[in-house]
Symmetry: C2
Subunit: 244 residues, 2 copies
DNA sequence: TTCATATCGAGACCAGTGCTCTCGAATGGG
DNA sequence: CCCATTCGAGAGCACTGGTCTCGATATGAA
């Protein structure tokens, strides 16, 4: 794979640029990310950076992909660690992992789940990494379905008509077992979950809610129900069963 | 009020600047909003704008306040139009009005509900206008409470401990009748509602969900339940009763 | 080993930004 | 009517993203 010293050097410098840009992103936010500042910090001429990233947006895209991957990895390891025995427990674990990652890296979170920069539509390279989180959630629902504990949604079959052809292909992919109806529900739940997290990360709960862990857990439990995950055990035992 | 021709002229130019800035915001987004471009469009020297807004952030704040007020007004008129007879109907009306406003003005929505610009924390003038939407939601819950149809939340009284002192003061204000427990629930519901809207406005449902109206209504109905609003009539009649 | 070629970084440069300062002119109140 | 206040213009500063050219350097082939 390694062709020669030149390619190695090139890869190293490219990585250093991305790394330094990541540092600045974490410290100051995406708006303050400046190619020139990155170059300055690395002892490079500003123009030299353009040998590695054709423009600022491309550098930003690299960071976006990195953030999606990091968040996706956090969700996936939480899912793996929780096992498949108790879907509700897995659900809580994944949601908490996502929230924890977001609170620890607010700027990276804002980069991927904040307002999209105008005129910027996600390049194809981002859709894979971006789907890792929703697919982790799908995994939980499929585990519940496999265990036969997934709730059915009577009378909402007609809603499946509203799913786009692309999504239908995605959800009815070989390997996927999630019922289409549950998938539609899950899309809405996914959005609501990130509403909770965004409000907290962006400071909308400041001076309003102190016990954010509790409020989050409570809401996420409701979301689990909305997604078709039934409480384990009886009634109020759900919360403790979910691993508090 | 009008002191003289000079003040009138000053107010007019100030309004023109804000208006032109609003145009540019709607067209291009907040990131592209340039003091110089505004000045250019108005035939002013760039420096002249600084007589009216000390810096770019202040101009942006004026736009933020305007957006909060416009969205708040939309929510309030929806609430007023729906009347207080049927809380669930009011709930749907308010949520739909918010969503409609957001979809029609994506850039203004992003300005107030997207990622906060780094190092910018909301000036005090924004908190009033910003509370209009949540207070409209509170109004719906209070109407349900007054009608005696608000669900109780058994066993979640301890969560009230997590409410900050500020919020407690706010919610237990004279004139407010919402039970503290319901208020806590509503805060989470509020966040989830804006998660739904943000995902749609920011294009996260593109190529996934086609029938967004239906998915939104379905989720908002679940949120109503989560907020303690009980379905009117029996079971599946709720949707039609909610005014589809 | 020698040499042509491809790659690299530096530096000058451009257009644009937010913002400050100064200066002349208009204006309106006493 | 006159003088102080207000206004807009314009120059200028420090910064940004991005382009271009030009030497230096390393690489692969002869």
């Amino acid at each position: 794979m390694i062709r020669g010293a030149r390619e190695r050097a090139r890869a190293e410098v490219g990585a250093a640029i991305k790394e330094e840009a990541g540092r600045q992103l974490a410290a100051e936010g995406a708006a303050q990310l400046s190619l020139r500042a990155v170059a300055r910090e690395l002892g490079l001429a500003p123009s030299a950076v353009y040998r590695y990233f054709p423009n600022r947006d491309d550098l930003l895209t690299a960071l976006i992909v990195g953030a999606y991957d990091a968040l996706g990895a956090a969700a996936e390891t939480a899912l793996a660690d929780a096992g498949t025995a108790d879907p509700l427990r897995s659900w809580m674990a994944v949601c908490r992992a996502i929230r924890g990652w977001a609170l620890a890296r607010p700027h990276e979170y804002a980069l991927i789940y904040g307002s999209p920069v105008p005129g910027y539509d996600a390049p194809p390279d981002t859709v894979g990494p971006a789907s890792r989180v929703p697919l982790a959630l799908v995994g939980v629902v499929e585990a519940a379905d496999a265990a036969g504990t997934l709730a059915s949604f009577p009378g909402s079959g007609q809603q499946d008509e509203g799913v786009s052809a692309d999504a239908r292909r995605l959800f009815q992919d070989p390997g996927r077992t999630i019922p289409l109806t549950a998938a539609v529900r899950l899309v809405a739940v996914w959005a609501q979950l990130f509403g909770l997290i965004s409000f907290e990360v962006f400071g909308r709960f400041d001076r309003i809610i102190d016990a954010r862990d509790d409020v989050f857990d409570r809401a996420v439990l409701d979301l689990a129900h909305q997604a078709g995950l039934r409480p384990t055990g009886t009634g109020s035992a759900a919360e403790s069963a979910a691993g508090r």
